[in-house]
Amino acid sequence: MTPGLVIEREVLIEAPAEVVWRTITEPDQMSLWFADRVDLVVEPGAHGYMRFGDQGGPVVVETVDPPNRFSFRWNHPLGEEPVAGNSMLVEFALTPEGEERTRLRVVESGHELRDWPDGEKQRYADEHREGWGEFLDRLAGVLAERRPG
């Protein structure tokens, strides 16, 4: 099995993991960085709703492991429940780097990597060091150079 789309980004934050955790999981905080309005109970399996302007959609919480891991599913077809296979999984990982610094990493993926055997995961990670973004950018760059005009 090949995973669908995978996006990985990270940021270094000058605050303890507990503070970062509250920022990413408390609904009133989430409405400041994510959706316009977030109705959500942060518990595994909880169903919530996110509103963006006059659009929106349901969210299902998966992992809640304070202050280390938080994940949810979204972006599934309208009218369907988000489950593996029809939605995007967003996984946040918080890693303390000293007392007042936290590395926050987000992975958004179309299929789950976490159900894979560890050996497969390692192989996948080894083979994707370059990252999709870089891969596509590089190819697009080569193509652009070759185009006339």
Partner: protein, 116 residues
């Protein structure tokens, strides 16, 4: 195209062997499956399979020239994928930037309260 909905495209690009094939096509223009098979660590049959998946996803097209079938990258489709990927990455960069500002402001506020 919504990036999320286009599963076929992302699955095609997600496989490292297919990325290797794409890479060779981009760098070398129009080539045959046999030519590709000499330059990858997998079989001619595997090359054909990967080319079929890439073609299905619209990333590669083929034409017959004499007795040979030549493959090339569909640049527009690749551009489309690159843009979709960049848009999603940019959206997450914006969100992570906002999280950083909020968390750092909250932390600074909590610390200044603790000062005697």
């Amino acid at each position: 195209m919504t990036a999320q909905a286009d599963d076929e495209l992302w699955s095609a690009i997600g496989d490292p062997s297919r990325r290797r094939v794409l890479d060779l096509l981009v760098s070398n223009g129009e080539v045959s499956a046999s030519w590709l098979a000499l330059r990858v660590p997998f079989s001619r049959q595997a090359v054909s399979k990967h080319l079929a998946v890439l073609e299905e996803a619209g990333l590669v097209s083929r034409r017959k020239q004499g007795r040979e079938v030549l493959y090339r990258v569909q640049a527009d489709r690749l551009d489309q994928a690159t843009r979709a990927m960049a848009d999603l990455a940019a959206a997450w960069d914006r969100r992570l930037g906002a999280i950083k500002r909020l968390a750092e402001a909250a932390h600074a506020a909590a610390k200044s309260k603790q000062q005697p």
